[in-house]
Symmetry: C2
């Protein structure tokens, strides 16, 4: 049995996959994809992941893509603790949160991070290689929806759009706070894929300067959950994976 | 055991839920939500589904929302044929298609249907009740992202946006065609939730005038799959559910 993860050290969805692999105790080989150099859009990688995003997982020659599908695959395929509740109603809530992690939290966090991080990264590349080289890279993004969105956002995102995105993430933080009234984990007494799926975005919201939104004063259950989940060995392992290129310097 | 489905006869996601219920042989009570009268945004319904969309399912007093989570719930909770493959790699592909049914197919089909159907429906309401009454309804949409999108689109969608959406759906049709090279169903030899999830959008693409895209001449495997799946009793039952208000006339 051989597992290879194609991922980037700081990517939210890569962290989801690494956390689940660590929970199950799966050994895996790392292929680090340098998003700063747009390696995710290189032809060799697009053969693995047709949308040119990370992560992708190779298990004995079969490729699995999309972080939520990867999480369910890891849980269903490998030994180790079950990462979903026994109760099917709790499982339904788990899947609603997994879906929102991608299509509400990730989507809006991408907008929140854009001006400070993504645009900055693009600017660095253009400063080094020229604007035309940058745009050539952008046009190599294989997913036409993402390409269109990226080109649309390439001059920066308005304060109004960012503010709207921040409000949408705050809504979700309040919903997590409410769900944690019932039990210690998001969908009940079982630590589940839902906790793994939303964590990177709680973490990233804080990294973007919104730590107050997950403070004890504002959302005490979310704050306690956030402190507690970071004590799990799987989370420590998944989030401490550092850029191997930096280590080599 | 009591199951109640809150749904609309013609809604794509309601059809997903009804097909899965029929496959499993589950008896259910119908609460028909009249989207033309914006009943989905009525306070009593928003207590059931906080986003004000259909379907929602009540099983013994517990509410399950989001069509993909409902599909998995139906499969995991009720007796009857298993609607997912045994092989976990095929299951991962099933979940990728379920995700795309919602976030690629549904999203783009909504844009394609807008000018001909949604805008028309809004216009009818405004003609009858006045523009201010319509906008009051729109502002009662509880999901702020959807509300913002609807207001943005309320004057109609440009030809350019529609053309882009049509191309995105065509991409997906080609991907289904390619997956059907392997086996008779989308993710393999097992009829699965993936087939149930994409069907309403293949059907709706045809209803929007793009039947040629699923013709034998253009995509023979998709055309054969589309003809074959419509012979299933579950599909006949789910898609023949008609507007009870019309029947009463």
């Amino acid at each position: 049995m051989a597992v290879t993860l194609y991922h980037w050290w700081g990517s939210t969805c890569s962290r989801k996959a690494r956390t689940a692999l660590a929970e199950k105790g799966v050994d895996w080989d790392s292929v680090h994809i340098d998003l700063h150099q747009f390696e995710n859009w290189a032809p060799w990688y697009v053969k693995i992941h047709p949308n040119g995003v990370v992560p992708a997982m190779d298990h004995d020659g079969r490729i699995i893509i999309e972080s939520n599908a990867i999480l369910e695959y890891i849980d269903e395929t490998f030994d180790g603790p079950e990462l979903k509740p026994v109760n099917t109603w709790e499982r339904a809530n788990m899947r609603v949160w997994m879906d929102k992690s991608e299509h509400v939290l990730h989507k809006n966090m991408h907008l929140i991070s854009h001006n400070n991080h993504h645009a900055h990264r693009w600017g660095e590349y253009a400063a080094k290689h020229g604007q035309e080289a940058l745009m050539e890279k952008v046009r190599s993004q294989p997913d036409l929806q993402r390409r269109s969105d990226e080109i649309h956002n390439s001059d920066g995102i308005s304060d109004e759009v960012v503010a709207f995105a921040v409000e949408r993430v705050k809504d979700q933080m309040s919903m997590i706070e409410k769900d944690l009234e019932r039990a210690p984990w998001i969908t009940g007494d079982t630590f589940s894929l839902a906790d793994i799926a939303v964590l990177p975005f709680v973490d990233r919201f804080k990294a973007n300067g919104y730590g107050e939104e997950i403070s004890e004063a504002k959302r005490p259950r979310l704050a306690e959950w956030f402190a507690r989940i970071q004590e799990r060995p799987s989370v420590k392992e998944a989030y401490s994976f550092m850029d191997p290129d930096l280590e080599a310097c």
